[in-house]
Symmetry: C2
Subunit: 365 residues, 2 copies
């Protein structure tokens, strides 16, 4: 458990805030605070630790040698959003990375996860990535998911404890309850560099995001490594709304693309140059076109819910938590067994800047 | 003049600092402070006002209509560094934009400017751009300057006064003293949009930076407009040292490229995409190569002086004012009538980051 004094201090410094949502009252750490990671949640009697940051290596060869002392498992990294799923007050709920109860993920979780897992293991938490074209948060989706969403379990935590179950324990549970999980490529050592480079090259070709390395040891060392494709795709997807993200988002990714090429021995070609240039220019062109036609820059989202209440709760959550984004509900209608919610995120910064620039405004820079 | 109380307050807040250089003692405004622009310099009896910021328009059509009420002169904008040249204590000196006495520009000014101007007009200040491949400050140079540097006068100021002489007064002086000056393309109104678009298209093709619009009226409204070429070139030149500049430097320029294309009706082509991608990737590739070979990322500079003392003074100034850059003198030798100084600027941020990444370091982002 976390000491009461620490909690009080965090609340006083506004690093932890009270939340009330879907019949739950809880405290949410909105920032990292001392050893407590952002997204940690306190229910009356239970602590759900935040999912810790995993550092990124830019160079496989030196990076693996520098970070790992023991064999490590290599798992696929899926490009989605991170949730922790748990049983609380007889209800299975999903927490977002930031510690909000997500009405969408909570609504859909039993389409993908066997609830027997929670009945038989009420103290365990599933950490999963949710990805797919019909999610309400991120504009990217792995190309192999053609519709809706999918869940990919990659870790199991225990209530009131930081850290994870071992790989063996996790795999047993995944098998026993037939949980959807990320691909485990195998157990490797730093001597397997050639194989790992080939694996990453292959993932890059298949437009997959990358891998997470997890040391099979009590120290649980971890690191992630992202393909050049994923970095390029990040730029492509977000260029429409370039002002929303810190500019370093882009310079970091360009740096990673170049280091990936360097390591994999990929030669700079006109094709790659033009992919990078296009990623930026097409997104911005789309923003300008949108603005000229509709006086706003936005992205449309659409997702399926089992209950209308959860759809409305998601809209409320997005209204409450979106910064520099206006969320506009477009439609909520019954579609087969589901309710389909369609909404727009209007990017206010980009809309405002284009309004200023296209009407002839002056910029001092 | 500036009120004494204001000066005292600026010094107290460290917005103005004492400088002592080349036998001059003066006060330099290191930041904008109330109505006093950064780079303003106070000698005992004289104020040299800082050169004011000129806002940028992104769209000619709306921008000119929005910014100007009267006809305006259109002058070429040269890609160099801004100096103010004046007579002080019987010596002609050049101040940098930031208000330092520049030993290099001061050393070379009489190769380009007729000093009779200052003898006959001791209260006037020439505002000029200095550009060329052999300058000690900026890595870019207009392609039409093949060696050394050139001066381009674009404004005349008066000591102890903010603001500029009128266009007519300025042109008279330029003619009388045969001063090297920027090209004046003519006097236009907002109705001349078609001609101005053609001019900018032409400048872009010729790899020139852009234009400054200067209203011919007591309000002296001004604005600048930069070609797509210049924005692309900025990225290309600085990518080697991407960490030195704020990341917005890059996102702003990409935005400007797209708005320039949009306005000039330039279609996005594979060629343009690949130019942009290449601008980023080639610079970073060079940085990685440099680091692997020499364990540092740097750019070499070379310039000519008339006196050895001024060359040493420049090195001293660069040592004192460079942030995150290590200046290493490589060679100072007599070459014909000049002293040739060669030095490296080692980009410490980029060198440090590549050191960390290429040795397998972890990054949390």
């Amino acid at each position: 458990m976390i000491e009461l004094e620490l909690v009080k201090e965090a609340v006083r410094l506004r690093k932890a805030r009270s939340e009330s949502f879907l019949d739950f009252e809880y405290l949410r750490f909105s920032d990292d605070f001392k050893e407590i990671p952002r997204g940690t949640v306190l229910f009356q009697d239970t602590v759900i630790w935040g999912y810790p940051h995993i550092g990124r290596i830019f160079i496989l060869e030196k990076g693996l040698k520098e970070q790992f002392r023991n064999p490590f498992w290599v798992e696929e990294k899926i490009d989605g959003y991170n949730v922790r799923i748990l049983l609380q007050k007889d209800k299975v709920i999903a927490l977002s990375r930031g510690g909000y109860i997500c009405p969408f993920t909570t609504d859909r979780v039993d389409d993908f996860i066997n609830f027997k897992f929670f009945e038989e293991n009420p103290d365990l938490i599933l950490c999963a990535e949710v990805a797919g074209p019909e999610n309400p948060y991120i504009e990217e989706s792995p190309p192999f998911i053609k519709e809706d969403i999918r869940f990919f379990v990659f870790d199991v935590m225990r209530k009131n404890q930081a850290g994870f179950l071992s790989h063996t324990e996790k795999m047993k549970l995944i098998e026993k309850y037939n949980l959807p999980a990320v691909t485990v490529f195998g157990k490797y050592t730093t001597d397997d560099l050639k194989t790992l480079k080939e694996l990453l090259f292959q993932l890059n070709t298949e437009k997959r995001e990358g891998v997470v390395f997890k040391e099979d040891s009590p120290e649980h060392r971890r690191a992630k490594y992202i393909t050049s494709y994923a970095n390029l795709n990040d730029i492509k997807i977000t260029a429409l709304n370039m002002l929303q993200l810190p500019a370093e988002y882009y310079t970091n990714r360009i740096m990673r693309i170049v280091l990936f090429m360097e390591e994999e021995g990929i030669k700079a070609t006109q094709h790659l140059y033009s992919e990078l240039g296009k990623a930026f220019i097409e997104g911005l062109m789309t923003a300008i076109e949108q603005f000229k036609k509709e006086h706003r820059v936005y992205r449309r989202f659409s997702c399926r819910f089992k209950t209308k209440e959860n759809a409305l709760a998601l809209i409320e959550l997005l209204h409450r938590t979106s910064r520099h984004i206006q969320v506009i509900e477009k439609e909520l209608k019954k579609e087969g067994d589901y309710w389909r919610l369609t909404f727009d995120k209007v990017f206010l910064n980009m809309t405002g800047l284009l309004g200023h620039l296209l009407s002839g405004g002056l910029v001092f820079d």
